[in-house]
Symmetry: C2
Subunit: 691 residues, 2 copies
């Protein structure tokens, strides 16, 4: 993403303008030169020449090294690449390699056991081809009257766990659909079987056919399309007049490479194959000390899980970890002005590796733009009629991914009051399954079209926040709104109205594993206990606001409960460790979630260490999401459903940090006593005029 | 609001264009002709000529009468006014009058006991004048060094309950502040006493001085201002470049009087002195049956309460009911383009009565506009690179009120997926109180500036939804997301991943009084059990999504717990009755909340009847809001904090109701296998170009 950037202005139609630069910031993603360089260095050190690059990505500098550089007390960190390579076909061997690109040396090469890395687009591609040509698949399609195999499509999915095989094979499952014409909506025609493939050996391991009372389920021939070529004649363009959003003087942010400066906020925008967007070094200008203050060291979405709630096989194997199993970076859309975003946009391209160690570019992978955000503040003095108001502004840094059927749009937003908000919009297509005439969808799904079952599911995201509230040593304090402890009528609470925020510092990792509580409107303050706000005399803090955190509904000891342990809690707080990023493990594919894995530790292992998290360098994993009971309205394509989490300043600034924002026109005398009299007069004038 | 309307287009500066019309719809607010007509008819029937009009407002037709008219089976309802009049000074007598404006007759005149109606702006105005001139007040101001009484200001508040007086007097409390110059922020200089006034007798009943260890608290002389004349030199206009939002072809909605037609939605926009905005007859075009379907009969915010959490007197008396005690309509701001809203705006004026029975106009009381709302839906087919997306649109009908220090902006919004959302933005000024040097603000408040305490408080709103989901007979079904009842390993739940929505119909009013549950992500489906969705075979429904519902923190038996009983539950469901609107009573000022009041029934009385609410005409009261622990960032003026509640279609339409929205440009081949190869090529070309 460093390498290529492009400006686009609403309404303008300037030709794409590329500018190629060498990474200038230690957190810049690997460039188009660095990826093949790393690949070559790795090849030179490999035992085999049958090497598949699962990833080649920036190996971020250790925090101590980076912060020394940032504070001008240490040298510029060397550029390093981290790569996972797979060798061998039948029993793939997985190795982790760290390459120093500055010194052009392989610094470490570690062979691992019992792990399976992320499925790349290349990996997923294999499944459809081999499934479509498999004689068993052809036969069971024929059984339900399908003879043209070019109309059968297979969505390749991570498999979760299939007890029939273990780590000796790299597995996928494939969910089949039928298309009656080229652009037909396949999710209207799900088929009643599933396929398990070995992607390295490129073979079908099993074709699992579901029979209900011994019968196959016919494929639905009803069409439910949404593309313009099918439904364009029912469009009603006359109903919606255009809304034009422009910035005639250009955007309010400035970029220097991947660093952005906007309205007092500064940060670095990174990108990698797995997390997609990574925001680092987030800091804000404090107008009351004329200084820059650190807020967050690093923010990214490090995991998510989508467990399906239908207990019948094979649906128990559907619980995609879209970050860990597929990679949010790999699945990134190339964005387009007017479709994905409106207004004056700056796009950034992403640079990703291929399986053969080359660089590839996703144009317009990241969108950066501003939006008007309504009222920032307003007050009317009812006496003198003085009205003051100012308008808020949003900086939005966004990315959209396609995970087979589903789409996730990630909007990292900052507003002028100092708030960070991650909003995710969920859209795309429901995963569907055919209903046999003897079946009904309820209670584990909804019949969204005749004979089409869309099953209950959840989306639980994990936002990793590495805070640095006014410095590296922070404490999370749980805050519960509770009534006064004193009874009604007591001296301390005579009228019974007393209530307060009960504050509980989280002291160890086990205490830091905690859940939201609605009854107390629980929030969590990320505080710096060493910095008191000079006004409130409370530690400066940012508050985690997270009431959109659907609890994991799978039962303890279910497969997904074990594999997605991170989703059991609304919040985990842990001490910071370099390279500890992924709460479901670095290797999520086929993972069991069992604690104590030598090469695949998860958030349970980190929590079991039960180290101190008070007044030290900490990391927060914030889980949020929704439970989705499909509706007919979600078919054939889902209206976007938003879900969000916020980090909001709480006694961080001495006062409203947005007082520098010029007020909108100040209006006088619209609400005063005099104005009231005038309103009566004008009503009377109008009445008289009518007589 | 019927009487006067005005168009304004962004960027344009057309002169105001008034058009005067006679109410043409039975739900139109009283016009500038009807208010004085009603007043005259009332005067002719009054015993005394010392009559004060507390309100003169539309007496809405009975539902049966109105729906008969609407369905062309009954005649047009007569126009009627409802008025509350106050006679006498020492012991004010309150009467309710209904006037038939069509037949020009007073139809009913009822004298009430033990009730106190809403405080009008006239009522509130009295307090500051008499307090400022009272010798006791002058003396206690002098004690803390204040001699210029023109610099002392009094915010008049409803009093809640003060045990020293009852219904024999119409009471207010006044909270005093000091201003060091004309436009100085008074909330930076709160004073340490409060005043109780009798507004009818126009006298001070008590001056309550707080002494801490026998000492007065000095007034803070620190200034904390926010108006441009004080802080304009620290504005940084260069940081934010303009964002222009225009609709060159005009807006997408059409209005006929107070009826609006937008993107398939139709409704009537009403307004009155108490609720402010009232949306009625909300219906939607169903593209799949080419018919109009009823959604909601009437939606409005019927109450709110703001209990403060500091147990020390006099703060227990601060729990404003801004709708019932002050009137959202009466406190409405006159709005301005570019300050309150951006884009192409249609404003509506409001017509309100004065104490002497005249009509007065608030210009631009209601703002109607559209906004781009980001992605409506998107899907990329990863095989063929087909991308489809469409953009969502919002219709926003809004109103902003000033309640002394606080501002509330109400945004009633509709989006293309059929969703109704009420978003409220809270802004304005914190209520403040001086800290004595021996005191600290914690735990019941925050020191937001040196010596200035801003106390914990809540804002709990009551949204009244009179649903008519495909007809008048509806049932609310509680929906809880729960794991399967079967254990892991059982035949019905072998892998433990099963979960479903447990549905519990609410059958009686007592069952209908229910709370949100986070653990089950509780929602409530307003269903029509008589209309099954032909696809899902489930009753058609709209779902109440309300997880922003801060529980009332005042203890049982506290004053506010009794007076604001409505705030004890997230949801109440009751059978519909004409004129049953206000859950804290029609007369909230000085109310005790005791059950069984002959003229002031509350939601407790309605619930105690425990009538059936299944498959009948029902009304839902949805409580939502926030608990506010003030932050230094909220001073001297608060950044807007949003809170919202939603009603979302759930198996109401047969499929996505927004497929008529034209897709944005369809993009091909950006995500396909071919495109991926191209990305590699383009990276290589770039690299070659650099060599």
């Amino acid at each position: 993403m460093t390498s290529v950037s492009r400006d686009t202005q609403a309404g303008g139609c300037c030709a794409p303008r590329f500018s190629v630069s060498i990474p200038s910031h230690p957190l810049d993603p690997l460039s188009i030169e660095e990826i093949p360089l790393a690949a070559n260095l790795i090849r030179q050190n490999a035992a085999s020449d049958r090497l598949k690059f699962n990833c080649i990505t920036l190996h971020e500098p250790a925090k101590a090294e980076y912060t020394a550089f940032r504070s001008h007390t240490g040298r510029r960190p060397d550029r390093r690449a981290f790569s996972i390579v797979i060798q061998g076909k039948q029993s793939p061997r997985v190795s982790e390699v760290i390459v120093n690109l500055t010194s052009r040396q392989v610094e470490s090469w570690k062979d691992l056991a019992n792990v399976m890395p992320t499925l790349t687009l290349d990996d997923l591609d294999v499944t459809e081809q081999i499934a479509r040509n498999d004689p068993r698949v052809i036969e069971i399609c024929r059984e339900i009257g399908i003879t043209d195999m070019s109309k059968v499509y297979f969505d390749a999915w991570a498999i979760g766990i299939d007890e029939r095989w273990g780590f000796e094979r790299r597995l996928q499952q494939a969910l089949p659909y039928y298309r009656s014409s080229r652009y037909d909506n396949q999710y209207a025609h799900p088929l009643d079987f599933s396929v398990v493939t070995d992607t390295e050996a490129q073979k079908i391991l099993s074709v699992d056919v579901r029979r209900v009372n011994g019968e196959r389920t016919a494929v639905s021939r009803d069409e439910h399309n949404y593309l313009p070529q099918f439904i364009g004649n029912s469009y009603r363009p006359e109903r919606l007049k255009p809304i034009e959003i422009t910035q005639p003087q250009g955007v309010s942010f400035r970029m220097n490479g991947n660093e952005i400066d906007w309205a007092g906020f500064k940060m670095h925008i990174g990108f990698n194959y797995r997390e997609g967007l990574v925001l680092s070094d987030i800091r804000a200008h404090d107008p009351y000390g004329q200084r820059e203050r650190m807020l967050f060291n690093r923010i990214s979405v490090v995991e998510m899980v989508v467990p399906y709630g239908c207990p019948k096989p094979p649906h128990h194997k559907k619980h995609a970890f879209d970050v860990g199993e597929y990679g949010s970076g790999l699945m990134t859309n190339s964005l387009k002005l007017g479709c994905d975003c409106k207004g004056a946009i700056r796009y950034l391209d992403a640079v990703l590796p291929t399986a053969t160690g080359e660089a590839s570019i996703i144009e317009n992978a990241v969108c950066i733009h501003e939006e008007d955000n309504g009222l920032l503040y307003k007050h009317t003095d009812f006496r003198d009629g003085n009205v003051i108001s100012a308008r808020d502004r949003k900086l939005v840094i966004s990315q959209i991914i396609t995970a087979a059927n589903y789409e996730y749009a990630f909007y990292h937003t900052f507003t002028l009051d100092g708030t960070y908000k991650l909003e995710i919009k969920l859209t795309g297509m429901l995963n569907t399954y055919p209903l046999h005439p003897s079946e009904q969808a309820a209670p584990y799904g909804t019949e969204v079209a005749r004979g089409i079952d869309a099953q209950n599911h959840q989306h639980i995201f994990s936002l990793r926040v590495d805070p640095e509230i006014d410095g590296p040593t922070n404490t999370v304090v749980q805050s519960d709104a509770v009534p006064s402890d004193e009874p009604v009528g007591s001296e301390a609470n005579p009228y019974g109205n007393g209530f307060y925020a009960k504050k509980t510092p989280l002291r160890t990792a086990k205490e830091g594993a905690t859940n939201y509580c609605h009854e107390t409107g629980r929030t969590w303050d990320i505080t710096n206990p060493n910095c008191l706000n000079p006004v409130s005399k409370k530690p400066v803090s940012y508050k985690i606001l997270n009431n959109n955190c659907a609890p994991l509904l799978a039962k303890p000891d279910s497969i997904v409960y074990n594999r997605a342990a991170f989703a059991r809690k609304s919040l985990w707080v842990l001490p910071y460790r370099d390279n500890e990023l992924f709460p479901a493990g670095r290797y999520v594919c086929q993972s069991t979630g069992k604690e104590g894995h030598p090469h695949n530790d998860t958030i349970l292992d980190w929590t079991n260490r039960d180290e101190g998290i008070e007044n030290t360098d900490i990391v927060c994993y914030v889980q949020f999401g929704i439970t989705h009971f499909p509706r007919t309205e979600d078919f054939p394509i889902m209206p976007a459903e938003p879900v969000s989490v916020m980090l909001r300043a709480a006694n961080f600034w001495q006062k409203n940090p947005a007082l520098w924002v010029p007020a909108s026109d100040v209006v006088r005398d619209v609400f005063s006593r005099d104005a009231f009299e005038k309103r009566v007069d004008s009503a009377q004038r109008l009445e008289n005029a009518k007589l």
